[in-house]
Amino acid sequence: MSPFRKGLRTLVTSAALSLAGSLAATSAFAVDWQQAKGTELFLGMNKHAYTDAITPLIPEFEKLTGIKVTMESYAQDEFMNKRLVDLSSGAGTFDIVMMDQAIVQYAGANWIEPLDSYFSDPKVVDAAAYDMADFLPSMIKDGKVDGKLFGIPISGEAQILYYRKDLLDAAGVTVPTNMDELLAAAVKLNKPGETAGILLRGQKIHTAWNSSGFVWSYGGRIFDDPMKPTKATFDSPEAAAAITMYAKLLQEAGPPGVGNYTWYECVSDFQQGKAAMYIDASVFMSQIEDPSKSTVAGKIGYAAMPAGPKGAFANTGSWMLSMSSSSKNKVGAALFLAWATGKETALKVGESAGLGVRASVFESPAVQAKYPAEWAKATAKSMQSVNPEPGFPLITQIDEWLDIYGGAVNATILKQADAQTNLSAAAKKMDDVLARK
């Protein structure tokens, strides 16, 4: 056999072998979960119901993949500082972090990794079992920046109305379905010194998300272009009417000192029976129904966000998981994301904590059996609204918006001026911030 022929035969054989090998790999759709065996992952998490729910499941992942997972969780403010310092410096301590609306900043600065290539790679994610289409559209859209996937949603929430069935029955008040009924009910249920008529967040940064839902329901908009904001429009007459209502509810039927109320004060007050109604994110149900922390567990009714003149637009939000660009174990991190956000794990989290971002979780009989059916219906209904804008504006200067816009809402609650005056001054400031390079 001539050397040439011998070489040719070797070439053909090896080509055929490798072809067969790759065919076998693709046809089986088998993800090799053990491919990053022996590596380590470090997770930076916010103290959140999701973190509590995923923690006991982590050993399953470690067993499946042979990857050792270390998880640190911090109180929200501290977590955000740690995450900022670690990711902006490229230190690479965290492989995976919990992500919120700051995703726009983080993606824009290339601190987090685009995930599309991992999730389309059959070696990492089994697309059929993972079922990306199962994510609720309003949730998965939060993880995308300029069309690219930077975060996978893990926990979703929407504004709903919590109310004390016993107090409403005793006062002969029907469950409010629109804002005017809400105000009338709140005033009627308000007993100064005992129970407040209604709770809403009043602290400046914390009012921003909650009051945005009011602005949309009154036909207002926060910014001109929901995808590329260039000008503040939260000083429109519609928005001013919405904020006037938001402030009026608190001024006429809120608890004393509501001007510095974050969700923490609202939830504690509601748990201790200090208020008759409360509008906030749907995730607080588990804390309010927990008999070890709450004196009102079992007495709560749930309804969707009351409608404004232009409909009911409950704000929605999501927490996501993102991968740090400085991670030294990106394949391991991608495997974790695929496992943690996959159908199976999502269902377990849904059952144990009532958190869901996948349609299959909300439809699951186990989830529907374990949590108040009214709550599931109210949350699902509030999540139906296709909001005109994202839950938090898609701008890099998000914290300045929280401060400026939230400050105007806060000043209105504190009666420092009327809504229109405060919002107009704030919109002018916001435009300067947006114009700044």
């Binding site: 900043q105 000192g257 001007g259 890099t396 300045e400 806060n410």
Partner: protein, 294 residues
């Protein structure tokens, strides 16, 4: 040529002993300070690192026109002067009482020093719980004597006094300790001579004890002033500068601009202004108070 070698040796030996300390000092003090100074002359927005550039006095010009800065400066001065005045007065009062105490001095001193020993962050969280208008312990106790409910840190008017209250509770013992130690070192003969000459208690205090104590007292005042200007943990945990901006001091505003708004250039300029104010205040106290440093 023996002389230059000897001179070199004479210089090298002490230098090699000093070098480690100096290198550490430069690395952790001088370099960051220098970096803050240069950053304060830059337009530096963290999410847009690429467009970071020198902009001269731009940040300082913005600062002069920034109402929020002036408001924060005013609140800082109010917080520092009121808290300091009360802490000095209370510190004196407690120290003078303690020095007359014959028995259980050690035990009492231990109790008085408790607020310094407890972790500040943890104890501030406890204060936050106590301040709650609806569920807090303070309003619960006030209700027994027919007062309240007060809104404490939840109202724009009451928030600053409430913060000063916590600050005084936490840090008066420091001044008390310094004054107490100072009183112990006063020469007895002078005071006895004054008593023999028929001086009244108030005369002894203002004409003898106070002047003799001044250098020691002023060291305490200096430390407290620097600390008060920089106070951050208290504000961060209790109010975050709110409601509105009613408790936003320079330290809080600097943090917000730097770490929330991510405007590191402007934040550095604010930090530097705060630094210069503290430097000026310290200089005045050292000069006026006759403090001997080292």
């Amino acid at each position: 040529m023996p002389r230059p070698v000897a001179a070199l040796r004479q210089w090298l030996l002490p230098a090699s002993f000093l070098a480690p300390a100096l290198i550490v000092l430069v690395a952790i003090n001088v370099v960051p300070l220098f970096y803050t100074v240069t950053t304060s002359f830059e337009d530096y927005y963290l999410p847009k690192v690429a467009s970071r550039h020198f902009n001269g006095l731009g940040n300082y010009a913005e600062l002069l026109a920034d109402d929020r800065f002036w408001g924060a400066l005013g609140r800082t001065l109010l917080f520092v002067t009121v808290a300091l005045a009360i802490e000095v007065a209370l510190g004196f009062g407690v120290a003078l009482m303690l020095i007359r105490q014959k028995r259980l001095v050690g035990l009492l001193r231990g109790f008085i020093l408790l607020p310094i020993i407890i972790t500040p962050i943890a104890v501030t969280f406890v204060w936050r719980l106590m301040f709650s208008p609806t569920l807090g312990l303070l309003n619960y106790f006030l209700s027994f004597i027919g007062l309240g409910p007060l809104e404490w840190i939840y109202s724009p008017e009451q928030a600053m006094p409430a913060l000063i209250l916590v600050e005084i509770w936490q840090h008066t013992p420091e001044l008390m300790l310094i004054i107490f130690t100072g009183l112990l070192t006063l020469p007895k003969e002078v005071i006895e001579a004054a008593v023999v000459d028929g001086a009244r208690a108030s005369q002894i205090f203002f004409a003898i004890k106070l002047p003799l104590l001044r250098p020691i007292l002023m060291v305490g005042v200096l430390f407290r002033t620097i600390d008060l200007f920089k106070t951050f943990d208290l504000f961060y945990i209790l109010t975050r500068g709110g409601p509105g901006v009613s408790t936003e001091t320079l330290a809080v505003y600097t943090y917000t601009v730097g770490f929330s708004f991510l405007r590191l250039g402007y934040g550095s300029a604010l930090a530097l202004v705060l630094f210069l104010i503290i430097l000026a205040a310290s200089f005045l106290i050292v000069r006026w108070g006759d403090v001997r440093l080292g």
